[in-house]
């Protein structure tokens, strides 16, 4: 659909564009992380491209691969009507080195999106004016959307009431026990029934 965007990117940045594809009609370019901001600047300022709407920024975790975290950005141009997806792969197993330059100065709308990627996936953005958690509370430890974070590990801010205090059972009543639910594996990490977290 907007193959010319990818062509221009490849012409301008050469080997910094690691790979491109247009599966399912979406034009995608994988960018060298050090060139992230330069590519974004080019996309914003080049008159023929004019990507003025920052659509989305998210992180996708591929823990079996190094680099592990893929930061995916979608951009759109209102005047020209074309879209592009940019990706950058950062971070090793321990998520060290998971850093990118912030593009908040190019699109102010990326401010909150970058905070969300930091919060959920753990990628730092250098030069961000105010990088703090946005969806989780500041006392939360860990980054929930990483695959290594178990989905049901809670970190309560208010300690739960005990059954003596409440005077009645607060856990799941019969016939539903703590291991209710689908016994079939869903892939991913095995679910450990950890009663201390209740």
């Amino acid at each position: 659909m907007s193959q010319h965007v990818l062509d221009k990117l490849k012409a301008r940045f050469g080997t910094s564009i690691l790979e491109t594809h247009s599966d399912f009609g979406d034009d995608t370019a994988v960018v060298e992380p050090s060139q992230w901001k330069a590519v974004c600047q080019y996309l914003r300022e080049e008159p023929a491209l004019d990507f003025d709407l920052p659509v989305d920024l998210c992180g996708v975790d591929y823990p079996t691969r190094i680099p592990r975290m893929e930061v995916v950005m979608h951009l759109y141009s209102i005047a020209k009507g074309h879209r592009v997806r940019l990706k950058a792969r950062v971070g090793d197993e321990e998520m060290s080195g998971a850093e990118l330059d912030s593009v908040t100065s190019i699109w102010p709308g990326m401010n909150w999106l970058e905070r969300e990627v930091w919060d959920m996936s753990g990628v730092r953005f250098n030069g961000h004016p105010d990088l703090r958690r946005i969806l989780m509370y500041p006392e939360f430890e860990g980054h929930p959307l990483q695959k290594t974070y178990p989905a049901d590990r809670t970190q309560p801010l208010v300690p739960y009431r005990t059954e003596e205090e409440a005077g009645l059972p607060l856990g799941k009543l019969e016939p539903f026990g703590p291991d209710e639910g689908m016994p079939f594996g869903r892939g991913g990490l095995p679910r450990v029934v950890d009663h201390e977290d209740d």
């Binding site: 979406d26 003025d52 102010p108 509370y137």
Partner: protein
């Protein structure tokens, strides 16, 4: 003793003044759902506003990775819970894009009608709540009465008033009921009548207009740079509507206008939504004309669509197919896709990553009101405290969507 009436020059005698910090906490009548705004005030003027969201973060994206592709539909409903049908349709279209299937024509019209009904419900709620917060309780009740009529139709179709979970990959859960067209055609004029009554009451009221006009102004370029889409962007003069720019379903075959505002203030956002209700009515009427009365709703791709119940009870192949689809999920081909539709608040996008299995690898929702709420602090700079209420109301921040 020294004379007390010393001639002082202006500004020599300065009283120390600290800025006041005020917390409009997460539980607040005007903070729809839950948002916390920490304000730094100097008198009544806002010096700085720190908008904190996340009080309704329900981990939708993490939960999607634990079920099947079809089990995401209930989660998706509860994102923008005032227009859940639009979320359902958007997600179904995203998975269908990844699977490479197209639904039959009758289903496309059906999805359009249900989606536009949901959009009407969304705009009615937003405008009604905005009026209520400014003190006009009666138009709120009228709009809620109109919304009940929309919900009656949706209840007859889907079984639930609010969170239908009616979309399915490859179609819808059930075909339209026998009297669907009659119900819609009967309800729409009544809904419009109530909207007009509400308009008449509100738009002639000097106080209402003055509280909304020139409040929370944002220019088109600023809004675009912030990532705004939808009615809030169109109120600032930028004519970007996905239904016109990149039509999906059958939006290119119906005739409707896209209301654009002029000044980008709260009044424009209010009026754009009211105008969009009328355009949605036009779309629904045309779609009902075009929708066939008979025909399949689900595409007949056995990889994603559940077989007929009678076959499941009587043949073994259908039982196995049913079992595999329910237990393991539809096997969506490997790859990633970004699919976008016009939600109630703007561009509702789904970025799906599939590893070829029945469980999604990653479902990312691009919530329109996340970006819009990100611009709130800019809108509130150097406004007064009482301007927060209509400004925030006009953005239609839905907690479930913003905090996903």
């Amino acid at each position: 003793m020294e004379p007390l009436d010393i001639d002082l020059e202006e500004g020599e005698l300065e009283l120390p003044a600290d800025p006041m910090h005020l917390n409009m906490g997460p539980s607040h009548p005007a903070m729809h759902g839950t948002v916390r705004i920490v304000l730094e005030l100097s008198g009544e003027t806002i010096v700085k506003a720190d908008v904190q969201i996340g009080y309704l973060h329900r981990g939708f994206e993490k939960m999607s990775e634990r079920g099947t592709w079809a089990q995401v539909f209930p989660y998706v409903d509860r994102l923008n819970y005032v227009s859940p049908m639009l979320n359902n349709v958007g997600y179904a279209l995203a998975v269908e894009k990844l699977c490479g299937i197209a639904v039959p024509e009758r289903c496309q019209w059906y999805r359009m009608v249900l989606g536009e009904l949901a959009r009407i419900s969304d705009h009615l709620t937003c405008d009604g709540a905005m009026a209520m917060e400014l003190g006009a309780f009666t138009p709120f009740l009228w709009f809620v009465k109109a919304r009940e009529m929309v919900w009656d139709i949706l209840e007859e179709e889907t079984g639930a008033r609010l969170t239908h979970s009616f979309g399915r990959i490859g179609g819808m859960a059930n075909p339209p009921s026998r009297d669907f067209k009659g119900l819609c055609r009967a309800a729409l004029p009544k809904i419009l009548e109530l909207v007009e009554q509400g308009e008449k009451m509100l738009l002639k009221n000097r106080i209402f207009i003055e509280r909304l006009e020139s409040v929370g102004v944002i220019s088109g370029t600023d809004a675009v740079a912030l990532g705004w889409t939808g009615p809030c962007l169109r109120a600032s003069g930028v004519a970007y509507d996905i239904r016109k720019a990149h039509p999906y379903l059958r939006y290119d075959e119906v005739d409707f206008d896209v209301p654009i505002g002029r000044s980008g203030d709260t009044l424009d956002r209010f009026l754009v939504r009211l105008a969009e209700i009328r355009q949605s009515k036009r779309i629904i009427e045309q779609s009902l004309e075009r929708m066939a009365d008979e025909g399949p709703i689900n595409c007949d791709d056995p990889r994603v669509v559940l077989p007929d119940k009678m076959d499941v009870y009587t043949t073994i192949e259908a039982t196995i197919q049913h079992f595999k689809l329910i237990m393991e999920g539809a096997k969506v081909p490997k790859g990633e896709v970004y699919s976008y539709t016009e939600g109630g608040n703007g561009e509702l996008g789904y970025y799906l990553v599939s590893d070829g299995g029945g469980t999604p690898y990653r479902v990312r929702i691009r919530p329109p009101c996340f970006q819009i709420t990100g611009g709130l602090s800019k809108l509130l700079e150097s406004r007064m405290l009482s301007d927060i209420v209509p400004t925030f109301g006009s953005l239609n921040m839905i907690g479930g969507e913003c905090d996903h």
